[in-house]
Point group: C2
Chain length 213, copies 2
DNA sequence: CATAAAGTTAAACGAACGTTTGAACAACGA
DNA sequence: TCGTTGTTCAAACGTTCGTTTAACTTTATG
């Protein structure tokens, strides 16, 4: 089937982009189909035509984001390099990805605890793969070296939350202090995260030695 | 006014508790007034009678949570002790608070990016106080000692996200691997966070030799 | 050109939404 | 006893929700 070019690329794409923007800003439930349709400049019925339902549209957004996030984890963590280098590369790639797909990130994280069984099971399937990678490539090697056991179901959320905090809280922090988001570049933010994770918040220039305040 | 004991403590309290539970599990917008009223075993009108509106109910939940969180920050961070001890005490208290008020935490964080001006401004007022404390008690002392500048609008979200990750992702991780939440106690989780923040994820063997599990 | 498929449209469906109303009820001091 | 005050209730308000239907136009194909 050559339906790649068959369908009008404008309508479906416009719906998707508009939905990502609206869901991130207003929330999924607070966004109405009519507002979405009019902002995307399509007829109301087109959403159900292309995506089956409002929930189907959400699932597609989640799938797009998760698959990209998972691909980064596979690429940067599955590697013969040492643990620290892989962690640094993963954080760099993931934070850049979060920045590029900021709205999708907000949707994916914020809609997390809501207990629609259909959506939750959908996310759990993705999260399961992510947890498996973190376990194989981070937790197990780390456990061998240091003897500590950090379960992947604990570490994966910690890493994701930490990397996402800049973008999740960004809009609120802008209200707290205008310009605070741009005051720290994404590159600086990445370095900050790597420094904290590898050496702690107190000692970023030294890996060993004395420690006072 | 003796309206403290005059009003029936059952109804308003039941509404509040039920709302916290429902908002955390289903989301604010997805929770209907009728479902809330029937689950709380009150008449539909009682919610508007006690809280003015659905949004007023949400505001009260947010206020309760934020004020407790802020009180902990004031108590544990504002102290002549050294930075590391204060940070450790703050994390311990905050994580315990998050655990006790898990549903309110989920509501407060998850409903964050939604751009209702009334709610956002309400949260910004609380966040502004939190950022100020973090700046005075963490960022400024830390900057003097190490020369690094970590803006409080960056650090406060990072700390909060990190401490909250266990509870925000808990329900999802339970779907990924049943029992994974209880596999790590809150006390272990706290120690893990303190260790990472003070010494990084890789080097926990120094400073305190007895780190097991 | 014919035919089917893909895309688009206006209109309507029933259900659920948050909120308001006005009367009833219980408890209290005057 | 009456009047006041805080609480509870059933019923209805008007609006908006997600979805569906059926007819129409456009596009691709043989």
């Amino acid at each position: 089937m050559n339906n790649k070019k068959l369908q009008n690329p404008n309508s479906k794409e416009r719906i998707l982009r508009t939905a990502i923007s609206l869901f991130a800003r207003k929330g999924f439930a607070e966004t109405g189909m009519r507002e979405l349709a009019s902002k995307a400049e399509v007829n109301l019925s087109m959403v159900n035509y292309f995506f089956g339902s409002k929930k189907g549209l959400l699932k597609e957004i989640l799938d797009d984001f998760f698959s990209g996030y998972l691909a980064i984890a596979r690429e940067e963590l599955t590697d013969p390099e040492d643990l620290q280098s892989r962690l640094e590369r993963f954080i760099t790639s993931a934070v850049n990805y979060f920045e590029a797909e900021r709205d999708s990130l907000i949707i994916t994280i914020s809609e997390l605890p809501h207990d629609d069984p259909e959506i939750v099971e959908h996310k759990a399937a993705w999260a399961r793969q992510m947890v498996e990678i973190v376990n194989q490539e981070l937790c197990l090697p780390h456990g061998e070296k240091t003897g500590q056991k950090i379960p992947p179901t604990c570490l994966a959320p910690m890493l994701t939350s930490l990397m996402a905090s800049r973008f999740l809280f960004g809009p609120l922090m802008e209200k707290v202090q205008a310009g605070s988001f741009k005051a720290v570049t994404t590159e600086d933010y990445t370095k900050m995260l790597v420094g904290i994770l590898l050496q702690g918040i107190t000692g970023t220039e030294k890996k060993s030695g004395e420690r006072n305040i």
